[in-house]
């Protein structure tokens, strides 16, 4: 018996055609094949056609690793999200993937859910290192220094979410989101309006909740309503979190007549909590969410609409522009938002 090796077997020999095979078959040099296939100038038309035909016939595909090694470019981008499930993030990823795949880029997903994950991203010690040409940060707040160090390492950056001023960025005006939702409730006549926030001690420096809170508090103050910290609870952007948070609010001594939940998923939890207590929505409790989740219409939820998958697609295009054309301007796109009034909001009884 042979000695057991820890070294793994080399993967089954992979008899794919290489550029040399194509060159030999076409009677040209590998350099010419490379040029011809990449559409570079200075190749005779006849040569190009012959090379293309033979490459096709041999089912030749350049090895991306070899290409990456020679050029420093990988034809892949990463998308970093706090969590991969959840309606919002999965739709962003879907939008990004569609565009990347269409352009021949790979889409690598990366869950960045802890401070440690972020450090790793910033330090370049994660698996993404040199595997991608750029990374789309979706609601991942990195310090300016971290962004710069990533850029220095040659990574292109695009952010989805709040503006950074350091790279192309696309998102919405989150203060306005808070204002829009809260105004709607105030105009209906509500005075005790609960806020279902993100996490209490946010490990991700998630700025979105802060902005939306700002809008919420601004509107209240302008309406002469005192901001009551007891009405602000943390819902963790999940259905279960929203349920817990609103349960707490409803069981308190002086419950609100309406709540603004920062996401539809938390609003769903709010609906559940209300129904469980025999409360009528919107009679006893008005609820407004954010996102216009696919299921919002089913639950007849009033919400602030935004088009997520499209945003992902445009973020991906910004990224591809940077990668392929080196255009690196820190543009900012603020997407329009709008209030969709459905059946979960009404004047207080």
């Amino acid at each position: 018996m042979n000695v057991e090796m820890t070294t793994q077997p080399r993967p089954t020999r992979n008899d794919r055609a290489t550029i040399e095979d194509v060159a030999a078959a076409a009677g040209v040099s590998v350099a010419t094949v490379s040029r011809a296939l990449r559409g570079l100038p200075n190749v005779a038309n006849s040569t190009r056609q012959r090379v293309e035909a033979i490459a096709e016939e041999l089912a030749y595909r350049p090895d991306p690793a070899a290409s990456r090694l020679a050029t420093g470019r990988s034809q892949a981008i990463a998308v970093a999200v706090p969590v991969l499930n959840g309606w919002y993030f999965s739709n962003v990823v879907a939008g990004i993937e569609a565009v990347c795949t269409e352009s021949g880029f790979d889409t690598v997903v990366l869950g960045v859910s802890s401070e440690a994950d972020r450090e790793r991203l910033a330090a370049g010690t994660d698996s993404i290192h040199r595997r991608v040409d750029g990374v789309i940060l979706v609601d991942i707040a990195l310090r300016a220094a971290a962004l710069e160090s990533m850029t220095e390492r040659g990574l292109k950056i695009v952010t989805v979410g709040p503006q950074t001023g350091l790279c192309p960025s696309i998102g919405i005006d989150d203060v306005e989101v808070g204002r829009m939702a809260t105004s709607h409730l105030v105009e209906l006549g509500h005075r005790r309006i609960g806020l279902v926030n993100g996490q209490p001690e946010d490990p991700l420096d998630f700025v979105v909740p802060l902005r939306r809170t700002e809008g919420y508090e601004g509107v209240l103050t302008e309406a002469g309503i005192t901001v009551d910290p007891a009405l602000q609870v943390s819902g963790n952007f999940s259905i279960a979190g929203g349920y817990e948070a609103v349960s707490e609010l409803l069981d308190s001594a002086d419950p609100p007549t309406a709540v603004f939940a920062m996401s539809d998923e938390m609003a769903f939890g709010a609906i559940q909590a209300a129904r469980e207590r025999g409360l009528d929505v919107p009679g006893d409790l008005s609820i407004v969410g954010v996102d216009d989740h696919d299921a919002a219409v089913v639950l007849d939820l009033t919400t602030v609409h935004q088009d997520i998958a499209d945003r992902g697609a445009r973020a991906a295009r910004l990224m591809l522009t940077q990668v392929t054309r080196g255009d690196n301007r820190a543009t900012r796109i603020d997407d329009p938002i709008r209030l969709v009034i459905r059946g979960t909001t009404a004047p207080p009884r």
Copy 2:
């Protein structure tokens, strides 16, 4: 289409430490550095420690492209799904990503939504070519020949969904899913039971709907109920699709008293359709779904529960076992399922 490939500027020079830098600093050869850092035997302990310290200090990270080129292994896997948004798929992906990242593997997502996409996958002409060590096919039905050709090209395969017999596979007994849901309705006394199916002409050979239909029809027949094709509609596995399908059913001459929707999302659409017509659920229409979506509890939906994210995680482990240990047995894991009875099902009036 490929992105315009006029000669791009070479990416900003990337002064990362290479293995040579580490070797020089440690006063050893690159081979020793390579061995030391990968934990191979035959390296003096003192040497290993010194090399590790220096690598750390220089923030050295091996270039994955160079490594891939030399070994043929890429430390990345792909997950192919029909769509990336949608509760089911995003949860599978989340489970896979968590495990892969933990093991230092990259997770590349790939939307495979058309026949052309599948051909490309099978033929190896897609971007995934030589970029990943394996691919997890989530409810993507490929012909045996296609699977074999992928395997021959050195790709490891794991499927999530129906069994193939050709590779490790993990899923549920979809016939039983159909039986479980339908039995529940039959036991409640329903005789006219609608079926909200997948797509009519399925471009993906999606077998799941066929199996679930088999279970549904089996139970009906056993109960002496004639299978009525007019009660079977296509819902496309989306909320909107379920809504359309059930609307049609409810507006027909002889509407059902209950429907079995093959996914919770389609069931949500069913609820919406019923409510829009002023029908009481479950009084006028009982509804049962499949998945136990996060929002199912909010809508009080009776459903067949399955644990999706965990399934993704286990699929990823199967994949990593194959890739790192070459274990290639075509094992099959059938996950348990269970009926969760909530408020959308009741005896017919």
